[in-house]
Assembly symmetry: C2
Homo-oligomer: 675 residues x 2
C-alpha cells in the first residue's frame, strides 16, 4: 500500500495548539498512523490508522481560502430559448427584432385617416364609407397607409350599406400599438447572470432570440464510501447502514442547478477508493466524497486527497460538520463530507452549494433570517459555530424557536425543522428566553398559520399533523405545562395523574396556573400498560415484577406523564426505583420504548397500547388515562386552536385513530374551563 509520505499527520497541529491531554492523545494517534499500514477489521477500530482532524477554521475563512485557491472559470453553452427555463444567462441578451414589428391596431374597430375625422361631434356626426374612408380592423392587424388611427367598435354606429357614423374625431395614432411598444430591437431583454423565468422566455422570443448563451451546468460526482454502507434496503442488517446521504446530495445538486453523477458506494479499501476518486475527478467538475461513519472511510478520504492533490482545509469550526475536508485534485474541488446525515446536509449547504452557484454564475442567495425567542436553553461551544434545528411558532405575537434534537444523526430534526438557529462561535450558549437568529426554512406566513403543541407525546399527534398545520414538540406533560406558562406554545398535550385523587390533569392545571383562566380541551382516552415481547416471555404481571433480576426496564424521561404514572405506582407499592435495572435509561417517546422492547435491549417499559400494537408486541393494561390538551382560555378563540378542535371532532380523525387501537373518544373536543 502506497501511503503518503508528506507531513499530513502533523499538518495543522501547531505546537501552540497542544494544550490539553486530548491534544497530546490526538498527536500520539497521528504519529502512530504514520508508522502502521495494516487495518485490523471492521468492528474493531484500527487505532493505528486513525487521523483525528484538528483544524478548527472559521467557516467564512475556510470558504474564502478554499474558493480563492480554486479559481473557478465557469463555462458556457448555447441552448434553445425554449429550453432555457431556470438556466442562467452568460451575457446580457439584446433584442434582435422589435415587438410588435409593425404598427398594429390595439383595439377592434375601424381604421381611419385621422385627418378625415376632424370635426366629428355628437351634434355633427361624420359618415365614413367602407373601403374608401375606413376599413374594419381587428386588434393586432397592421395599420396600413393612408390610415393612422383606430376608432373602437363600441364608438361606431353602423348605418348599413358599407357606411358608419362617428361622433368624435380620432387623434393621429390613437389605439395603435407602435412598432417596438413592447420591445425595441437592440434593447437589453435580460441582463447577464440572470436566472431565466417563464416570462423571460416570452420576451426573448418576442425579441427574435432563438438561442441563448447560458452557464454550463457543472457535473458533480457523488461518491459514497464505507464498507458499512449498503445500497439495497433488502440487505439491511446489524452493522449496516442504508446509503441515504448520496441520494440527498443528488437532490441538492439538482436544486442548486448542477448535474448529479452518483457512484455506487466504495468499500474501505485504500486502493479501490483511490481509483474511484481518480475516476470521479476525471469524470466531473466537482467530486464530493461522502465519508461513511467508519474510521476507514473517514481516514482514507483525507489521505487519498493528500496523495493525489492537496488538502486545503481539514476541520472547520462548524457543529455539526466539523470533520469537513476541502481538497483539490488536478485543479478540481474534491470535498469530503462527514457521514452523519445532518452534518452531511449542512456541510453540503455550507460548502458545496456556493461552489455550484459559482459555476453557474449566481451569487449565494441571501437567506431570510428572523429573530426568535428560544424556548429551551441551548448550550454551545466557544470553538464552533453551531447550527441548531428549531421549530418556529407564533404564540401571542411572539416568534418562538423550540430546539429539536441536536444529534448529528437525527435526520428527522431537519425534516421537522422550520428553521436553523445559528449560535455564533463567540457564544457559549443561550438561555431560555434569549434571542436567537434563525435562518428560515419555511415562509413566515406558513409558520404563522401553524399550531404549536409542546408537551406529551402520542402517535395521534402525527395524525393531527397530517390533517392540519401543526408543529409538535415532545417534552413530556410537565414540560408542556412549563412551556404553556412561558407562553411558548398554543396547546400542551398532558396526561398527568394526580397521585392523591387518582384523577387526571385538572388539579395540575389549578396548581400551576393559580388565578389564571385556563381551559382543557378533552382529547382521547388511551390505554397505558407494560409493553412486552410477543407472548410475554418473561411473564410480567405487575409493578413488583420490575425489580426481578432478569428484567431490564426501559423508562421515559422525567416530566413525562408516563414516568409520573410509573412513579405513582412504585410509590403506592413501596418499590424502590434503584432496584429496577434500566430505571435510568430514558426514552422520549412511546415508540422508542416499544422499539427497545422489540429489539430486546429491554424486557419491558410503560407505553401506550397503540405503540405496542404498531410493533406487533404484547401489552399488559395498567391505566385508561385522559390524554388532554391544555390551552390558555383566551386562545380558544384563536383560528388555529379552533381548527384543532374541529379536527379532533372530525370523523376522519376518529377513523384514523381507531385503526391504531387502544383509544377512546368519550368527551372528545369538550372544553373544561379551569379557574
Amino acid at each position: 500500500m502506497n501511503l503518503p509520505t508528506k507531513d499530513l499527520f502533523t499538518k495543522g497541529l501547531l505546537l501552540k495548539d497542544i494544550k490539553t491531554k486530548s491534544d497530546i492523545l490526538q498527536l500520539r494517534f497521528r504519529m502512530a498512523m504514520m508508522n502502521s499500514t495494516k487495518r485490523k477489521g471492521q468492528i474493531i477500530m484500527d487505532k493505528n490508522k486513525r487521523n483525528i482532524y484538528i483544524d478548527n477554521i472559521d467557516v467564512e475563512e475556510a470558504k474564502k481560502v478554499y474558493y480563492d485557491k480554486l479559481n473557478i472559470e465557469p463555462q458556457w453553452e448555447e441552448i434553445d430559448v425554449v429550453n432555457s427555463l431556470g438556466r442562467v444567462t452568460f451575457e446580457a441578451i439584446y433584442a434582435k427584432v422589435s415587438s410588435p414589428n409593425y404598427n398594429a391596431a390595439a383595439m377592434d374597430g375601424i381604421l381611419v385617416d385621422s385627418s378625415n375625422t376632424l370635426g366629428a361631434t355628437e351634434v355633427n356626426p361624420k359618415i365614413l364609407e367602407e373601403g374608401k374612408e375606413f376599413l374594419y380592423i381587428n386588434t393586432g392587424n397592421p395599420v396600413v397607409d393612408p390610415y393612422d388611427g383606430v376608432i373602437m367598435i363600441e364608438d361606431v354606429i353602423e348605418l348599413g350599406e358599407g357606411k358608419v357614423q362617428i361622433l368624435k374625431a380620432a387623434h393621429p395614432w390613437q389605439h395603435v400599438r407602435p412598432i417596438g411598444e413592447d420591445i425595441v430591437a437592440t434593447e437589453m431583454v435580460v441582463p447577464s447572470k440572470h436566472k431565466v423565468r417563464p416570462i423571460d422566455i416570452g420576451a426573448l422570443i418576442s425579441g427574435g432570440i432563438e438561442k441563448v448563451k447560458v452557464y454550463k451546468k457543472p457535473r458533480i460526482g457523488i461518491l459514497p464510501t464505507g464498507t458499512e454502507i449498503i445500497e439495497d434496503i433488502k440487505k439491511l442488517e446489524t452493522g449496516k447502514i442504508i446509503d441515504s446521504n448520496s441520494r440527498v446530495f443528488e437532490a441538492l445538486v439538482i436544486e442548486d442547478g448542477g448535474i448529479p453523477n452518483r457512484y455506487s458506494p466504495i468499500e474501505d479499501d485504500y486502493e479501490k477508493l483511490k481509483k474511484a476518486v481518480l475516476k470521479g475527478v476525471e469524470e466531473n467538475d466537482i467530486l464530493i466524497i461522502g465519508a461513511g461513519s467508519s474510521a476507514g472511510s473517514k481516514d482514507y478520504t483525507v489521505n487519498i486527497i493528500e496523495e493525489l492533490g492537496e488538502v486545503v482545509i481539514h476541520g472547520v469550526a462548524l457543529k455539526p460538520g466539523k470533520p469537513t475536508i476541502l481538497g483539490i485534485i488536478k485543479g478540481k474541488p474534491v470535498i469530503g463530507i462527514p457521514g452523519y446525515p445532518v452534518s452531511a446536509y449542512l456541510v453540503f449547504e455550507t460548502f458545496v452549494t456556493p461552489l455550484i452557484l459559482k459555476y453557474i454564475g449566481l451569487k449565494e442567495e441571501k437567506d431570510t433570517f428572523v429573530n426568535a425567542i428560544i424556548s429551551k436553553k441551548i448550550t454551545s461551544s466557544l470553538k464552533n459555530r453551531e447550527l441548531v434545528r428549531v421549530n418556529l411558532g407564533y404564540v401571542n405575537d411572539k416568534l418562538i424557536a423550540t430546539p429539536l434534537s441536536s444529534g448529528a444523526g437525527v435526520t428527522m430534526s431537519l425534516v421537522k425543522a422550520d428553521g436553523i438557529a445559528i449560535i455564533p462561535q463567540s457564544l457559549e450558549g443561550i438561555d431560555a428566553g434569549g434571542i436567537v437568529n434563525v435562518r428560515l426554512l419555511k415562509p413566515l406566513n406558513q409558520i404563522k398559520e401553524t399550531l404549536v403543541s409542546i408537551g406529551s407525546h402520542d402517535i395521534i399527534m402525527d395524525i393531527i399533523g397530517d390533517m392540519m398545520k401543526l408543529t409538535s414538540g415532545h417534552v413530556g406533560s410537565m414540560g408542556g405545562i412549563l412551556s404553556t406558562k412561558r407562553g411558548e406554545c398554543h396547546i400542551a398535550p398532558i396526561h398527568l395523574l394526580d397521585m392523591e385523587t387518582g384523577k387526571y390533569n385538572v388539579s395540575y392545571v389549578k396548581r400551576y396556573f393559580p388565578g389564571q383562566k385556563m381551559a382543557i380541551i378533552k382529547g382521547v382516552k388511551r390505554h397505558q400498560g407494560f409493553i412486552v415481547g410477543r407472548g410475554n416471555p418473561k411473564d410480567i404481571k405487575d409493578f413488583s415484577d420490575l425489580i426481578r433480576e432478569d428484567i431490564v426496564y426501559i423508562n421515559r424521561q422525567r416530566g413525562a406523564g408516563t414516568r409520573i404514572l410509573l412513579d405513582y405506582h412504585l410509590n403506592k407499592e413501596n418499590i424502590d426505583p434503584s432496584n429496577i435495572k434500566g430505571y435510568d435509561r430514558e426514552m422520549t417517546t412511546h415508540m422508542a420504548v416499544a422499539t427497545a422492547v422489540k429489539t430486546g435491549s429491554a424486557t419491558t417499559g410503560l407505553g401506550t397500547y397503540s405503540a405496542a400494537k404498531a410493533l406487533n408486541l404484547d401489552f399488559i393494561d395498567i391505566a385508561y388515562e385522559d390524554y388532554d390538551f391544555l390551552v390558555p382560555f383566551e386562545l380558544l378563540e384563536d383560528d388555529r386552536v379552533k381548527e384543532f378542535i374541529k379536527t379532533l371532532k372530525s370523523d376522519e380523525f376518529k377513523e384514523r385513530v381507531e385503526v391504531l387501537g387502544g383509544y377512546g373518544f368519550e368527551n372528545i373536543g369538550k372544553i373544561i374551563v379551569v379557574e
Copy 2:
C-alpha cells in the same frame, strides 16, 4: 359550418345590464353573429362573427364557481423515492425500519461493560484489557453484548500490550445511539400533501422506504391559435406575430408541477380548431387555448367550447385579463386565455396555476404582500381588479412602488417588474403618495440592495443594470427631478439644458431644490441630433427643415430632456411647434424614436447617436450634452450609490459604452455639490 344553435350570444347579457349605447351595440353584434356564418377575411374585421364578452365576474367568485363545477379527482402513481424530489406525497408515509436499526457507537473509542468501569477516577484509574474488558470501536459500529457503553478515545490512555487506562466510569448506554434514535419504525416520516425535499429523501430511505405514492402530474395541453401566429422567427413579417405565449405557458406548467404538451398554432378555421380542441381534450387533463389577437381566434374559441361542452364563465373583472374563458369539455377544464402577453401571463397565474395545484394536492401558496408608497397616480376602473406591474425600491427606508407600462402587450413590464400592485375592484385609482398592496416577485432583501434610478433614458442605463443591481424608470429628466423631490428614487439621470445660459443641469437643481444640499454625479457626455434614414433621404439639415410639408417628426414626451432641447431650439429660431407634423406624437425612449424613423413612420426625431448607430441610421449632430445623475447629498454615503459611482468609473463600463458610440467620459464620476 356547424355553428352552435344555443343561446350563446345572449348568454350573460341580461336586460337590466343594457344601459348604455355600447350595451345596445354589443347586443346588435351578438344578434348579427347568430344570423351570419361567413367570414370575410384577415385584416378586415368580420363584424358578423363578433362575440363581445360581457360577463364581468369577480375573480374569486369565478374561481369558486368554476372549480366547484369541475370537481377534480386527483390521481396518484407510485415512484422510486430516489426520483421523488419535488413531487407531492399522496398519503402520509410511515417508516418501515428504524434508523439506526441497531444500537450503534456514537463516538470512536472503546466499547465497555459499564458495570466493569464503576469506581474509576483520576485518583483511582482502572485498567481494562482488550478483547476481555473492552473492544476498540468506531462511530456507527454495533454495540454488542455484553457491552453497553462507549468511552471516547480522547478519554482513553493507551498503555500498550492491549491495555488501556480510564479515569472515569462509564454510564450505561453512554455515547450509544439507540435503535430508532433517528427514526422509529412506524413513525410518520412525512405527511400527505407534502412536497418532497432533498432531506425528506434521506429520511425516507433511512426509514426503509423504496417507493412512494405521489400525486400524478397533470398533463396540460397548450394550443396556440390565430392565423397571424407563427412559430418560425425567420418567417416574421408585417401582420405576423411570433408565438411566445405558448412557450411561457410551457415554462409555467413545469414550474407549477405539471407536464406541458404544446401543439403547433392552429389557424383561424372553425373546423380545424374544433378538431384540435377535441384532440387536445382527449390527450390531456387540462387544455388551455391561447387565443390570438385576431377576432377569429378570439371568437371561435368560445363558440367551440360552447358547442363541445360548456362555457362556465366568459369575461372576468380582471385587468388585464378580462376576456378569459373558463369552460368544460368532457368533464375536463378548457381555458381560453387572451392573446396579449401580459394578460396571458396573469390569467395563467390566476386561473391555471391553482388548477394544476389542485391536481397535485397542493394548496395555493400564499404570496408575500407588502405595502408600498405609489410614486405615480394609478387610474383604475371600479369594474375590475387591476394588476399593475411595479418596480420597488427602498429610498430613505420607505418602500416605493413605481408603476411600469400598463399596456397588456408590454411583456417587458413583467420582465422588469419587482412586484404586482393589486388595485381592488372597489377603487377608482390611487393618487401618488398613496399606499398600494404589492405582491412581491422578488425577495425583499434583494430589493433592498437595488439602486433606484428614475429620470431620463439612455442605453447606458442598461449596461449599468447589467453590472449592478439597478432598477431604472424612464420618465424624462423633469420627471426624475420631481421623483427626487418626492423621495422616490436614489438617483435621477438628467440632461437639462438651461435655455438662458446654454449650460446643463446645475441651474435646474438649484431652482428645484432651494436651500437643500444636493449633488450631481457627472455622467457621460453624449451626442444628440437628428436621427434620419440611411443617406439622409429627405436631406434634413437643421430645425427649420422640420416644418416642411414632406417631413413627419417623431417627438419625445413632455419633461424629457430631449424634448426640452427641441423646444429650446424651436424657441431660439422662432419656429411654431404647431407647424411641425408629428410634434404631438410622443415616444419615451431614444430607441423608440429611432425605430419610428427606421420603419418609415417618421422622417426624423431628436435622439442620441448611439440609438441611431444601433439601428444603422444616419445622424446629424446638434448637441454634445451632459447626461448626469442627481442625488441628494446625504445619499452619497449610501452603499448602493457608492457602488454606482464605482461602476461609472470602471474600465469595463467605459469599454462597453465606447462600443455604442457617441459618448465622452470627461469628468465621469466627479461629484459637484449644489447648495
